[in-house]
Structures are given as structure tokens and as C-alpha cells.
Amino acid sequence: MSASLGLGILVLTLIISLYAVGAAIAGTRMHSAQLIDSARLATTITFPLLTVVILIMVYLLATGHFEFAYVYRQASLQMPLYLNITALWGGQSGSLLFWAWLLSGASAIAVRQAWKHEKPFTPWVVVVTMFTLAFFLLIVTFVDNPFARIWALSDGQVVQSMIQPAGSFLIYPPNGLGLNPLLRDPGMVFHPPMLYLGFVGFVIPFSFAMAALVTGRSDSAWLRLASKWALVAWVFLGIGLVLGSRWAYTVLGWGGYWGWDPVEVAALIPWLTGTAFVHSMSIQEKRHIFKRWNIALIVLTFCLVIFSTFLTRSGILDSVHAFTQSSIGPMFFGFICIVFIASLGLILWRWKLLESEGKMESFFSRESAFLFNNLLFVLLTLICLTGILLPVMSDLFNSTKLTVGPAWYKQTTGPVFAALLLLMGIVPLTAWGSTAAKSLGKKIWKPAVVSLLVPLILILTTALNWAGILALWLLSLITAVTLFDYGNAVFLRARGQDEDILVALAKVTARDHHRYGGYIVHIGIVMIALGVVGIEFYQAQTQVTVGLNSSINLEGFQVTYKNLTESATADGVDIARADVTVSRNGKTIAALSPRRDYYPLYQQSVTVPGVYSSLAEDLYVVLVDWQPISADAATFHVYYNPLINWFWIGSVVMVLGSILAYIPSRPKAGEKKEEQ
């Protein structure tokens, strides 16, 4: 009953979304406010309808209705309730339904915003968002439906279908297979939804851009509506990527957080162009230039969002993250082609209209720095696309399989990241309009000198590692520049207004919170980069087989093997768990229990490391092998990961900075009317 209701509502929502597209177009052509209003309401109603579908799906997963093929594959009586609920986005059709649900919610808000602030945009926002929604619902309804049930045919064949095949009967499996063992982690609660929120979030700025193009608006109205969405999408996608890294770090047991896996890279690509867009939109707002560039950038980001979803689901990528091969790949490819060609056509149609109104006055201006920042992000995007597409092309045209590993990515992206860091160090000292080289030099020399202390200390106190030293110098330059600029503003205010330093800090931040939010984001990035530098340039590791009460020494730590127990859980998972102690300078500082969980049903092992964490470093212990029965000896892989925790701390700081930058400015008295 509930399933039929779910399926019925799904089909109804698909019809409503298609109606919304038709009504919006017809309403514009016929100048019918009634039709446009109807399209707007239709858009709004898709959200509550899909919410009901989602709730039904969650109910089926949580209560173990294994007669549904999706529930049978993704849920299990052995999994805790929270994992059975997360199974909603653990499989292909469920995740697409979840995508559609988030999109319907975002569309409802966006259409309301357009209606309130830029009425002429409304029908076109409806067209773009509902066309995208209809595409997803089309797949979920007709190609990969989560409500399909398992039927036994009279000849003994088992099939899955939404409607009962003739002469068949429904199968009720007593239990489901459950999620892939690697997905049975609390990370499953937040990582995929954050990524999807990021992906969906970028649909809305794209819809505003398309609305501006169709209605022939060349001003920054679309950008004012799109900017908040872009920032929110960028933050969610960023959080999703960081949570994925954290998950990989704590579960995959290979001592790292980012393996340059093709699907990881596919999710990173829209974030790269999104980052470029988040920076470049302010150029248009402040200087009225780069109108074409901004439109192109958001079109590219949207296409890459769909492309990323396509790559994960087409089966063309070999990755631990990829869904099984399915027939929806060509549909996604077709959708990307339609979107790309339509967007390109609109840009060309409005080419003249999108001419810049301003000019650049100096190579050292802020807009110039932002332009190069954008180009570097585009370069990173091109590199990443080359890295994931070339193996596909090689397989297709040469029948040769290739693997593009981390070494290639590090070699090609490393210099670009370094250049970005250098730019990040300079940009806060540049100004909109013109900045003379002399003036920039005057501002930068003090922080530059202070930043040189870091490499100097490193050269004098540690083993020479030039790449690491260069990277750490760049990070100290960014920190010094940011703190000098921030400090100068606070100091001048405190002196000028005779205020306490803390009061001045709060008031300076509140006065220009977009800018200082950006500064905090930069400090967050410095912290993240510190973690990357630590693991990339200063990581140490060793693998040793030791007997009971024997130790492994690494970077001043002693890891002593104490015990190993083997057990089986009620749900049939074989667990081998070692007990080790960690000592430093003869003092025991931690007891860790690295383990290996084996899932016989999946014939798959999950390595759970034991980690001793501090702000300075992580000691990451992996159980590799052991002597069965006696457990007299075991093999451990021990990683020393310096500074890695700054990666996670920096991510939190980055989110806080983004929130500060996001808060809308309060209009001063008299401005409100003008703004409207």
C-alpha cells in the first residue's frame, strides 16, 4: 500500500515538474501571469510531495521490507537503524531520489526568492530547476525505481519489477544484504548528504544565470541572488569532501586521506570551478567586468556537477566509490549535452549584452589577482579532467587500460597549488581599481620578512626538505599578510576610536564581515594546507612483524604489541583485534586497538586503524597480519603523520569563516528603499 502510494506520488511529481516547465514557458510566451503563478506553485508543491516519497522509502528501509529490491540490497536486520536509514543514499536509485528531493526543496526556495526580488526571472528559474528535477525523476521512475519488488516467475526465474509479472508471486527474503561493509560507518550519515547539498546548491545559481540570459538582463541582479547560493553550495561541497577524506583516513587504513581516486577527483572538480566562481562574482559586483566569464563559470560548474554524477554512475570509472554499471550513463550524457548546448547558445545570443562596463587599471589590482586565481583554478580543473578522462579514452580508443595515480597528480597540481598559495598571500594587500607595484611592495615587505623566519628556523633545526620548506614559507607568508592587514585595521580603529583591542577587533570584523570572513577562510586553508604539507613532505612509516611484548620504533614512538584476540559477532563478522601500547621517552601515552573486520558474505575486509592523535601529529597503527591461533607474532604498519590534525581543524575554521562571510549586510537607514 505505502509502496504504491510512494510510486504514485513519484509519477505525480514527475508530471507536475513537467507541467511546471510547460506552464512557465507558455506563461512567458502568452504573457499570462496566471500560468507563471501556476508554474511557481507547481514548483513549490514538488517538495512536500517528494518528502512523502522519501518518508515512505525511509519507512521501508527502517522496517526491513526486503520484498523491495532496493531495500533487499541496501538494508539488513544486522545493521543499526541509523545505517538502514542512510541506506536511502547508499544505492543508486535511492541516492538519485535523494538528489531529486534536495533539488525540489532548493527549487522551492529559489523560486520564492526570484518571485520576491526579480519577478521576471521566476519562469526561467522554474524551467531550469524543474527540467533538471524532471530528468532525475524520469530516471528514478522508469529506469532505476527504488520501489521495484522482487518476483518469482513460474519458470523459477527471479526478476525485479514495479508491477507484478503474469503468473508470478512476490518473494519476501527474511533478510537483506545490507550496505557494503566500507559504507557501514557513521561517515555515511553526513558525507554523501553534504556532497549532494553542494551539488544541488550549484543548480540554483545556474538557474539564475540562465534566467538573466533569457530575460536579457546584463546587470548583476542574477549574481546578487546567486552569490549566497554559490557560497552555501561551495561550503557544503567542501564539507562533503573533507568528511570523505576523514572517512577514508579512519576506515580505509592506508595512512592517508586523499588517494586521487577518479571518483574523488570527479567530486573535487565542481568544487574547483565553484571556488573560482565564488571569487570572480565579486569582480563583477565591484568592477562590472567579467560578465561573460561569470556566466561561463557557473555553466561549467553546473555541467561538471552533472558530469560528476554521471561519472559515478555510468560504470566507466574504476573506483571504490563508483556505483555498479548501469544504463543511465547515456541518459546523463544526453542531459549534459542538452544543457551545454543550450547554455552556449544563450551566451552567444547575449554576447554583446554581456560586454564589460568597467576596466582594469593595473596588473597589481585585486581584480587582476582574482583573474589569475580563477585561471589557476581552471587549470587545476583541466588537469583533473585530463587525469580522469585519459584512462577512459585510452580504454576506448586503444583498448589499453591506464591508471593515473597520485604521483602524476602531485607532480602536475603541486606547482599550481603553490602558485595559488602565493596569490593568496598577496591578494589581501591589493585593492580594487589600481594598486601600484611600489605600494604593494611597501605593504608586503614587513610580513614577508617575518614569514622568512619559518624557513630559516626549519633550515637550522630540521633535515633539509626544500619542497616542504617552500610550502611552509608560503603558508607563513599568507598568515603574516592576513594578520598584518587585520591587525593594522584593528590597531588603527582602537587608536582612532580609543577602544579596547578586543572591542576594535569585533567592530572591525562586523563592519566588513564579508572581507574578514574571507580572511578567516584563508586562515582555515592555511591550516588545511599545513596538514597536507605534514603528510606529503614529512610522513614516516614502517612495517614490521613483532613478537608479543616487542616494540616497533618510529620517530621517537615505541609501539608495543601486547595481545591479539579473534572473535565473531552475532551478525557473522570475524574480528581480529590487536592491543598495542604507545610510549614516548619510556612513558606509556596511549593504548590502541587496531583491528581487521572480515565480512564473509562480501568476502571483504575492513581495516580499522588505531590512532594516537595530538595537535602535532598522529601515530596511526594498522594491523596487517598475525599468526593464527597462537597470535605470538603480528605485523603492523605504523605511520607517523605530522600536522595532519590541522587539516580537520582548518576545515572547521573555513566553515566558520564562510558563515561570517555569508551573513547579509544590514542596510543602513535610507539604503533599504534604494536597494529595492
Binding site: D219, S220, R224, L252, G253, W254, G259, P262, E285, H288, I289, D318, S319, V320, S356, E357, K359, M360, S362, L371, F372, L375, L376, V378, L379, L382, T386, L390, P391, M393, S394, T400, K401, L402, T403, V404, G405, A407, W408, T412, V416, A431, W432, N488, A489, L492, G496, R511, D512, R515, Q541, Q543, V544, S605, T607, H637, S665, P667, K668, E675
Partner: protein
């Protein structure tokens, strides 16, 4: 005659010694070298499991990878260099087992595209700035009041900082 026989015998002894030495060095080269897990992982981390997706050999828990690691250990024990081992695995199982694609054929694009794109984009950037520096601005649409307010404040602040630096 005696002298020639002595010369001949000493030549034979030298020849035998040389042959022995050659044999000994060959035997030494073939004798197993002590190989640690770290040595194995150093090479294994550059190779990919043929079964699992994008998992390097050093961390892959499958049986096939365990066998590969043992085979790799055996080759290192015979004195093979890291590159020789990698080349062997590539020759046996195809280019996809190495994380670094060969510099030939289509995969040359991997080595050509990034630098070419960098040069083109940066050159394009300089040309764009030059073009925009020369452009005559059209009538400018007004910035939002909030942005204008923030700009005015920032300009004043930057002027103050400038003055401060000149002191």
C-alpha cells in the same frame, strides 16, 4: 721450453682465477638479499591491484595482492632494482598496474596537456589584463548600496594604513 711452459701454467692459473672470480660475483648477485617489509611496500605502493579498483598493492588485503607482494619480495631479494620490478609487473600485467602511465601514445597527453594549458591560460590572463586596461569603460551600473558602503569604508581604511606605513 721450460719458460714457455711456466708462462702457460701461470696464464692458466690466472684464467682459472678470473673465471672463479666471475662465477663468484655472479653467485653473489644471485644470492638472496635481505628484504624488509618497508622495501616491499616502497615498490608495492607504486603498483596497483589488478582486481580492486584503484587500490595500491601495499595496502590491498586480497589474496592475489599478498601473492604479488611475495613475488615482488622475491625479485627484490634477487637484487632487482625498484624500476626493474615495476617494469616486470607492467610487462606481465599491462600498463594499468603502474600509477605512472608511460610516456607514449595517447598517454603523452597526460604530460603535454598540463604545461600547455598552464602556458595558454597564463598568457591569456596577461592578454586579458592588457585588453581591459586599454578598454574605455561604458556607463557603469551602480553597485549595490551595501557593496558601495563597504568599498568606501575599505578605501578610507586603506588610506589610513598607507599613511601609517609612510610614518
Amino acid at each position: 721450453m721450460m719458460k714457455s711452459r711456466r708462462v702457460l701454467s701461470s696464464f692458466s692459473v690466472m684464467l682459472m682465477l678470473a673465471l672463479l672470480a666471475a662465477n663468484a660475483s655472479q653467485a653473489l648477485a644471485q644470492s638472496p638479499v635481505s628484504v624488509t617489509d618497508d622495501d616491499v611496500n616502497r615498490v608495492a605502493s607504486q603498483l596497483y591491484c589488478p582486481v580492486c579498483e584503484n587500490v595500491t598493492l601495499d595496502v590491498c588485503p586480497t589474496d592475489i595482492c599478498a601473492r604479488w607482494r611475495e613475488s615482488l619480495r622475491g625479485k627484490l631479494a634477487l637484487g632487482w632494482t625498484d624500476q626493474q620490478v615495476i617494469d616486470y609487473f607492467v610487462a606481465q600485467y599491462g600498463a594499468s598496474v603502474s600509477g605512472i602511465p608511460p610516456k607514449e601514445g595517447l598517454s603523452m597527453l597526460l604530460y603535454g596537456v598540463p604545461p600547455a594549458a598552464a602556458v595558454l591560460l597564463l598568457a591569456g590572463g596577461f592578454l586579458i589584463v592588457r585588453k581591459y586596461k586599454a578598454v574605455k569603460p561604458a556607463a557603469t551600473s551602480p553597485a549595490s548600496p551595501a557593496a558601495a558602503r563597504s568599498d568606501g569604508y575599505r578605501k578610507k581604511l586603506e588610506d589610513d594604513i598607507e599613511k601609517e606605513l609612510e610614518r
